[in-house]
Structure formats: structure tokens, C-alpha cells
Amino acid sequence: MEPAKSILPQGQVKPRRFWSPRRKEALVGWLFLLPEIAGMLLLNVFALLFSLYLSFSEWDLLSGIKGIKFIGLDNYAKMFQDEAIGQALKNNLLYTVFTVPVSIAVALVMAVLIHSKVYGKDYFKVVFFLPYISSIIAIAAVWSALLHPSLGPVNQFLLELGITNPPKWLVDPKTSLLSIALISTWAGIGYTVIIYMAGLTNIPADLYEAADIDGASSLQKFFKITVPLLRPTTFFLFVTMLIASFKVFDIIAFLTEGGPHNSSTVLVFRIYEEGFRNYNMGYASAISWLLFAIIGILTAATWKMRKEDAA
């Protein structure tokens, strides 16, 4: 630290430069990170803490910031007695069960077939991916017309086939959630197929050649080579789809608004309804934390599964 000053020829003393290259690099580094850090602080850190605080409060938004009233655990207590929340939880679970396993199984078979055994691979990739790229709202509008209970082409077709009492799809509480699950599976399966196809290109071809020499059948190859080697892809898809299925909102908000009679309501729709229609900001925040807790637990559980799987 001694030569902190240098003597200039004229005899003036020049202080050591504060902006050493290392400091300058650090400053630039933080500057480049600044927008993302600001975004994180505002939209994640602050938002999360504020919603935690609100979840213990009663607040109708219109009364302004002073109207926030601390009420302890009341919102959470209310949540456990709220039938709509129970229904939403049940629907979220059912929706997951309807969509995730089917999508994964069907997409895997489709991907394997497209990958190795068809002419016109690109055509299939594009066609199956078309609904995913299109907006879910436009897709939902088309399907709601197709599934119209009395006039829709789907039911007209079923009547033609001799089915006298075709399901009423979106307007019947018994089938509304299932219909939504069907539409979103149809719309999302192209994504799953594409991810599986990416996974398939990583399986070395000589494994299949060796199996051919041993006289393995196609089914044997599928179950003994393809399925086990695609395990990481399947795991990745399972986790992301599981979490995504708990975030479902757009299609439900557009098609059924959770109805009829809450038969297709889900947690995010409850948050929307309580927060932005009834202005129960505190209660909506408590539901948000329920959602956050569920997603947190699911994420942690699946990561643990994966670690054990790898060990």
C-alpha cells in the first residue's frame, strides 16, 4: 500500500486512482445487473413480502393504505372452511391427473413414432405444434363452438353415431373440467412432443443397432432403451407440467369463469375472483400463499425424488 501517491514531474502529488481496474469491472458488472436486480426486488421480493403481510390482513383496496387491518390468521382459518377453495383444490388436482399423465404418455409415443418411423417428419412437427403456438384464447373460442351442447359439430356427430345423450361438455358441471382438460391437452401436446423429440436425438443410434442384432422387437426396444434413457426428459416434463397445471387460469377465465357452480374453478381463479371482483385483497393474498406453498412443496418434493433417483 506504500506507493499510494506518485510524484508527477512538476512536483505535484497525484492521488492513487480510486477506479482501479478491478473496481471498475465490479461497477460495470453491477450496472449491467441493475435492471434485473430492480425487477427482482420489486416484482418478487417486495411482492412476496407484501402479499404475506396482506394475507394476515383485511383490506378492501378502496379504503386506501390506511384501511389495511391486521386480523392474524383469520384469512387462513376462513380458507379451510371455504367450500369454493376446497372445490378449487380438488379441481386443481383433478386437472393435473387429467392432463399430465395422458400428455406425457401420448406425447412419448407420438415422438417416438415421428422420430423414427414416418415420412414427412417436418409436417407432423408443424401440425402438432400449431395449437401450441396459437393463442389459447382463440383455440378456446373455436372449441367452445365445436362443443356447443346442442348445435356443435362434435355433438351432432355423436348423435349421428347413435349416441342419444351426448355430454353437454362445458355447460354441464359434471364434464366442464374434463372438457377444459381435453382442450388444454390438445393444445399443449405439441410442446411435449417437441421436448421428447429433442431428448430422442440424444440417444445413440448404436444402442438400437445392437438391439437389432440381438433380435429385439420394437416394443422391447421401446421399453428397454427408449423409456429408460428418456427418464431425465420425462422427469423435466413431469415437473414443469405439474407446476404449470397448478397455474392454469387463462382458458378457465375465458371459457367457464370457474362454472357452472364452481365445477371448474381453480386456485388462481379464486385469487382473481376474490381479489379483483370482490376486492378482498387480504383473503386473495392468503389464497396466493396457499398456491405458493403448494408449488414450493411440489418443487422440493420432485427435486428430492430426482436426487434419490440419481443416487
Binding site: F32, N44, F46, Y123, L130, S134, I137, A138, L146, I243
Partner: protein, 280 residues
């Protein structure tokens, strides 16, 4: 040998036929949508379906959608404006952060990165209420700025770009430093050009996601003149509850720009989706 080849080809033809049949199931709703958009309302639900309409009412439907009360071109303009702005800002912010995370050395860098990706698991849906409050306090409720602010930070794309930049050879950067280039120069004239393919992918996918978003416009917009296309669709649904011809024209109009982007850039879109996988 020949018999085996024949057998292989036969099975390939059969599988292609089965998949071809399945692909019809994915195309038919689109074909029905296009065909209905050209029809008179009375013909839309006629059964058996007239795939090629005998009488065409496309001009009327088109006018109803594009020149109605709240015309579609307004929604179009709003969607384009929001999606383009969000995409551009995301590209800048995410690539800046990725550059800092990969090519600059300083204390705390890796900690920030860890924090950032751990926040990736927070679902935006769980912070809707505080986000809404923030927007109101900032006086941005019912503006496009609200949508832009909500979407312009992307931890996910930062992560994706970081992965790519990790692979960029440091020799280029060292050479530029010796030539006297500063950090901004290196970022702008070396890093970004080298990342062009991945930046294009990020841009396309971010654009599509923003274009298709329904939740944020639903919560942050009130004035119909500010509606994006997806929200405009909801307006049409309410205004033309049982007019399916007009609804299908609206759906077609909402999808068409993305279809064009997709058909032109299909390889990039598909690879981009496969690249990182996660949506969000």
C-alpha cells in the same frame, strides 16, 4: 435383405398413415375455424359440415370484426406495441445481465445469480395482488406501461442467455481488451453479434408469449381502446355470444400473425422451445 427392407417400408407407411389420421384431428378445428369465418351465421352449425361454404359472407364478418364498435385493428396495434416493446426490453436487460454473469468478475456476482434463479419458482400468479397494488401506486393502472413493466424482466431468458454466453470463447474478449475496447464496446460489438442466433430465438418466443398473454391485460386494463387481442376476444365473445361466424373470424384474425411467424421461422421456434423447455 430385400424382404426386410420391404417390411420396414411397409411398417413406415402404416405408421405414417396412422399419424396422418391423428394429424387430421389437430388440423380440423383450424379448418373449421377458417371455413366458419367465411359463412353466414345460419350455416355455421349446419350438419353435416359444409367445409367449403356455398354462400359466402366473409365481407360482412370481416367488417364486423375489423370495423365494428371497437375495431380489431386497435387491438392489433395494442398487441404489437406491447409485445414488441416487451421483447426489445427483455432482450436488452437479459443479455446485459447474462454478460455480467458470465464475462465480468466481481464479488457477489454468483450469489445474485443464485438468488435470481431461486426466485424463478415463484409463480407470477401468487404475486398478482401486490403487483396490482404496485401498478396502482405508480399510477400505471389501465396503461400499456403496466403490461410492459410486468413482462419486461425475465429471469428465464437471462438464464438461457447466460448458458449460451458461457460457451463464448474468452479469446475474442481478451483481444478486444488489448485493442482498448471498454466493457460497453465489448458487450455491444462482440458479445451481442456472437449471440445473434440465441437472441433471435429469445425474441421470437418472448413475442409469442406476450402476444398470447390473457391474464395481465385482464387485470391491468380497463379501457377497451387499450385492449390487446386476447382481451379483445373476450369482448367479442360477450358482444356476439351466439354469432359463431364472427367469433371464428375474430379467432382467425388473432391467430394469423403468429401462424405466419411460425411458418416462416418454424425451425427457430421449435428449436427455441426445445432449447430450454420451461415456459414462464
Amino acid at each position: 435383405m430385400f424382404a426386410q427392407q420391404l417390411k420396414k417400408n411397409a411398417s413406415k407407411i402404416i405408421v405414417t398413415a396412422i399419424m396422418g389420421a391423428l394429424s387430421i384431428f389437430f388440423l380440423v378445428p383450424f379448418i373449421w375455424m377458417v371455413s366458419s369465418a367465411f359463412k353466414f351465421e345460419n350455416d355455421v352449425m349446419r350438419f353435416p359440415i359444409e367445409w367449403i361454404p356455398e354462400t359466402i359472407n366473409v365481407v360482412y364478418n370481416f367488417k364486423a370484426v375489423w370495423m365494428g364498435n371497437v375495431p380489431f385493428y386497435l387491438f392489433y396495434w395494442n398487441s404489437i406495441k406491447v409485445a414488441l416493446t416487451v421483447t426489445l426490453i427483455t432482450l436488452v436487460f437479459s443479455s446485459m445481465a447474462a454478460y455480467s454473469f458470465t464475462k465480468l468478475q466481481f464479488k457477489g456476482r454468483d450469489l445474485v445469480f443464485l438468488l435470481l434463479i431461486s426466485y424463478m419458482i415463484i409463480p407470477a400468479q401468487a404475486t398478482l395482488i401486490p403487483r396490482f397494488m404496485l401498478i396502482r401506486w405508480m399510477g400505471l393502472y389501465d396503461t400499456h406501461a403496466a403490461l410492459i413493466l410486468m413482462d419486461m424482466f425475465s429471469i428465464y431468458f437471462t438464464f438461457l442467455l447466460r448458458q449460451f454466453m458461457l460457451g463464448v470463447n474468452n479469446d475474442f474478449i481478451e483481444a478486444a481488451k488489448i485493442d482498448g475496447a471498454g466493457y460497453f464496446r465489448i458487450f455491444w460489438s462482440i458479445m451481442l453479434p456472437l449471440c445473434r442466433p440465441v437472441l433471435a430465438t429469445v425474441a421470437i418466443i418472448k413475442f409469442i408469449w406476450t402476444w398470447n398473454d390473457y391474464q395481465n391485460p385482464l387485470i391491468f386494463l380497463l379501457d377497451k381502446k387499450l385492449y390487446t387481442i386476447q382481451l379483445g376476444m373476450a369482448l367479442f365473445r360477450d358482444d356476439y355470444t351466439n354469432n359463431y361466424a364472427i367469433m371464428m373470424m375474430a379467432s382467425l384474425s388473432a391467430i394469423i400473425p403468429l401462424l405466419i411467424v411460425f411458418v416462416i421461422l418454424q425451425r427457430q421456434v421449435i428449436n427455441g422451445i426445445a432449447l430450454g423447455g420451461v415456459k414462464g
